[in-house]
Symmetry: C2
Subunit: 222 residues, 2 copies
DNA sequence: ATTTTTGTCGAACGTTCGTTCTAATAATAG
DNA sequence: CTATTATTAGAACGAACGTTCGACAAAAAT
């Protein structure tokens, strides 16, 4: 498996890379990724076998390996695509907003909207956080760190604008916890949609950090 | 494997259930549970093999099955013990406090203190949430629902006492998210201890729900 | 001292795992 | 219509899986 395998014939990947920019290969691979996401969502990465994945995709076990070289790479592709997309969309949305508080609300809304619209993929991203090894793992970790950085900066801006004082790290990670935990309990039938959820979590979080950040020393309140 | 196996000799479990109330068997089993928790923490339930567990326990593969009848039962024992203990301690602590806000702070402190003192077990409880099937699964789910109920009641009391209005469900599950997510990021060397963490998360959450629950209709704030 | 019980182990069971070989088909091009 | 390339599948690989068996040592009871 490791070292230099003597056979380079496989791994053609992109056809001629010419015009259509989305080859049949790419489209089929994307389909497989979707089916695989379903299976990983239901059984977890370790619990899902390649045979489960092939059955769900309607493709033979061997046929799968024409599209990707290992189960681990498959998980990597899912995570990379999901995470890249959510960061992309966030950057787009942040362009329109300047108010520090609103920018945080945009962050929360973007996260929850994408999370609930792609719940399965986001569970696979959140839950199978530390299963990728070596190169794959570090690449996903880098995107994660970047996403974290963005949120920290948004919060630091709010602190500066409002003269607040609190630990950005704990606040941000608490916020991530609130949002990411959703995959364990949200049911579209009974729970509110992303907009409503973002409103409420935004309220709790923003009023929380604003109020608690104001009092340098503890106040007895009333 | 299924059906009525002809051999009833195994499954003696508790020795004579008499005086010492903690037999050698129980003590050895508890040790194994601790080692197993470490392994599940590192590799996940599906990713950890019985051979991994036997190696960590310093006991032969076959020897393990003298103490429990399956890998799933082992996970069940870990989760049950962990969850039961945290609820027990909570009940004890709540006896001393009557103020609704303080009771919620007690809840948070109890959760975080136990979480950080037993981080591995708590990850195994949080992360391997839906892997137990049938009887095992429903029993753990029942404790979880009970724990959730307690928290909802604490929050409803606060709402009544302060005349607040917000969704208890979203608030509680947000709080659980904040707290449980810790297992993904908390490092004892760099992050604060449970008391400090409970203080800060308690601030964010309580000020958050209090402030956001006061305004029935949205205010433009400033 | 010997029987019974309690604890432990090496070896193996049958099954499933991720992956690969080989060869046959479908699509595309000349 | 052939040559070529992209795509699929059957069968098998060795390794690892959870679990069980039967024999055996240590401890406790008689």
């Amino acid at each position: 498996m490791a070292s230099a395998s003597p056979a380079p014939p496989r791994v053609s990947r992109r056809r001629r890379a010419a015009l259509p920019s989305e080859t049949r290969f790419d489209r089929r691979l994307a389909k497989i990724l979707t089916y695989a996401t379903d299976v990983f969502y239901e059984k977890g990465y370790e619990g899902a076998s390649m045979r489960d994945l092939s059955r769900a995709s309607g493709m033979s076990l061997a046929g799968m390996y024409y599209y990707f070289e290992s189960k681990e790479k498959l998980l990597y592709l899912i995570q990379k695509h999901t995470f890249t997309t959510i960061v992309e969309r966030l950057r787009e949305r942040l362009k329109d907003v300047t108010d520090p508080e609103q920018r945080i609300r945009v962050f929360i809304l973007n996260h929850l909207e994408y999370f609930l619209a792609n719940q399965k993929a986001m569970k696979v991203l959140s839950h199978e956080d530390d299963v990728l090894k070596n190169g794959f793992g570090t690449e996903i970790a880098a995107i994660k760190r970047e996403y974290y950085r963005i949120c920290i900066e948004l919060l630091d801006n709010l602190k500066r604008a409002k003269g607040l004082e609190f630990s950005s790290r704990i606040a941000v990670l608490s916020l991530f916890g609130m949002m990411n935990w959703i995959y364990t309990w949200h049911h579209p039938r009974v729970d509110a949609d992303a907009g409503e959820m973002a409103e409420q979590m935004g309220n709790i979080f923003l009023q929380g950090v604003c109020a608690s950040g104001k009092a340098q020393k503890k106040r007895s309140a009333n």
